[in-house]
């Protein structure tokens, strides 16, 4: 492979079902149902997806959910705030593990 990430992958994503049509169908049906209007609006779900896309650092998802958020009526401020939620949780998750460090250090130290 000359490069791991290609823009065309996103357009061709549905072809992933070819290896296992049953599982592919189950996944994409589920996926579609997840993002439909429900107790949360489709726009709110799209903002969550955008934040998660950054947390898992998936360029396909970032591309896809940036467009999707805009199309669902989210503006740049809202999208940036959503992103900071992911950043805060990622940073906070590192920092809160510091409590393990702290406990160990206290135990071992004098």
């Amino acid at each position: 492979m000359d490069t791991y990430y290609k823009g065309q992958h996103l357009a061709d994503f549905a072809k992933i079902s070819e290896g296992s049509p049953d599982l592919g169908k189950k996944f994409f049906d589920y996926y579609g149902a997840v993002f439909a209007d429900g107790a949360l609006t489709a726009r709110e779900k799209s903002l969550i997806a955008l934040a998660v896309a950054h947390a898992v650092q998936c360029p396909y998802c970032i591309d896809s959910y940036t467009q999707d958020c805009q199309q669902k009526g989210a503006d740049f401020e809202q999208m940036t705030e959503a992103l900071h939620v992911a950043v805060a949780i990622r940073g906070g998750a590192s920092l809160v593990h510091g409590m393990q460090m702290r406990e160990q250090a206290k135990k071992l130290g004098m």
């Binding site: 209007d37 609006t41 489709a42 726009r43 467009q67 805009q70 199309q71 669902k72 009526g73 503006d75 740049f76 401020e77 809202q78």
Partner: protein, 367 residues
């Protein structure tokens, strides 16, 4: 007679707009800048040069047939207090060159009295700036028509329009108000810094006059369009969010929301080209082609009258100079409704804007 109902001359309107420092403006008209895309021919050429794998007629040609005439849409002219980046009319405060004259207004009024259409839809520019706006509304109301005013909101705050909202409310005029988004950033990005704040003030004036509170005689419809090269949101879902957002943040209510797509013509076309989005946007429209959107398209049940009296299938065709295909010619003084019923609807590539996604028309989404 109240002074406000006296005819006001176009020169005075233009002078008022030249002195207006309160309305923010996002750009200048293509015409004023003598931009390459200022002419319809240049716009059609650019659209035609985009590589697409199909044409509108190949997909929709067989399905798209005239319905009965419901809406008489009159474009009173291109004069506007604003200059939004996405304007499909190339309207602005400099556009006194394209305003309906008195003789044409009289021909339009005669046709309104004769037509079976139930609705008279007034657009522009900002139709409220036309010196004959009130007399057109009054004549249509007297003829028993439902009148719609396609309003940019900020025009209602101009000193010359003091009292206009109450005057329209007395004549049960539906206000169809464009507001790109229920929050500031996307609205100001498209219309100019400060437009959102003035739009909110205008919406408060409308609410205070009884608009937007469920009274069918004082209906306030908001019209949203995307601030960029993507399609409109789902109308039903967006309406719920807008209702909540405008109520919570500003105490504003409205009756319904239309979500439109941006048509790849005029200033939006220029923006698409300048931002490098032209090809991908057109392809997005084609890929999102939705046959179910055809039935509700405005070209089927609307007559579009231009400022010079010429006739079109829709306001977009009007801006591209694509006249009605009628054997006797396409001018309001010769309007022949039975011949209109038999016409072939004129289409070109911009029509993909109306059939993309959930569809897009003067009455909102169509499927």
């Amino acid at each position: 007679m109240r002074p406000a109902t006296l005819p006001i001359r176009l020169e005075q309107v233009a002078e008022d707009l030249a002195l207006d420092r309160a309305t923010p403006r996002a750009t200048q008209s293509l015409r004023r800048r003598a931009a390459p895309l200022a002419t319809p021919a240049a716009q059609l050429r650019l659209l035609k040069a985009v590589p697409l794998h199909t044409e509108f007629d190949a997909l929709a040609g067989k399905e798209l047939r005239p319905a009965q005439l419901d809406v008489f849409q009159v474009n009173l002219g291109k004069l506007c207090n604003m200059t939004c980046k996405h304007c499909h009319v190339d309207a602005g405060p400099d556009r006194t060159d394209a305003m309906m004259d008195d003789a044409t207004v009289e021909q339009v009024l005669a046709a309104i009295r004769a037509t079976g259409a139930h609705t008279v839809d007034l657009t522009g520019g900002a139709p409220e700036l036309h010196p004959r706006f009130r007399s057109v509304v009054q004549a249509a109301f007297d003829a028993g028509k439902r009148v719609m005013d396609r309003c940019n909101l900020t025009v209602l705050l101009l000193p010359r329009n003091a009292g206009l909202v109450d005057w329209m409310a007395e004549r049960q005029v539906e206000i169809v108000a464009s507001l790109p988004h229920y929050r500031r950033p996307n609205t100001d990005a498209q219309r100019g810094d400060g437009v959102f704040e003035r739009s909110v003030r205008a919406l408060r004036v409308l609410n205070a006059a009884g608009y937007g509170k469920g009274d069918p005689q004082r209906r306030l419809t908001l019209v949203s369009n995307p601030a960029g090269a993507f399609l409109g949101a789902s109308q039903a879902s967006a309406e719920r969010e807008w209702r909540e957002g405008l109520r919570q943040n500003f105490g504003i209510s409205f009756d319904r929301l239309f979500v439109l797509n941006n048509m790849p013509i005029s200033r939006f076309l220029e923006w698409l080209q300048d931002s490098g989005n032209l090809e991908s946007y057109l392809q997005r429209l084609v890929n999102a082609y939705n046959p179910a959107a055809i039935g509700g398209l405005m070209c089927r049940n609307t007559l579009s009258v231009g400022w010079d009296g010429r006739l079109y299938d829709c306001d977009f065709n009007q801006m591209l100079d694509l006249e009605l295909d009628l054997p006797a010619g396409a001018h309001i003084r010769d309007f022949d409704e039975p011949a209109w019923q038999r016409r072939r609807i004129v289409t070109a590539r911009h029509c993909f804007g109306c059939t993309a996604g959930a569809g897009s028309s003067c009455g909102g989404q169509t499927s």
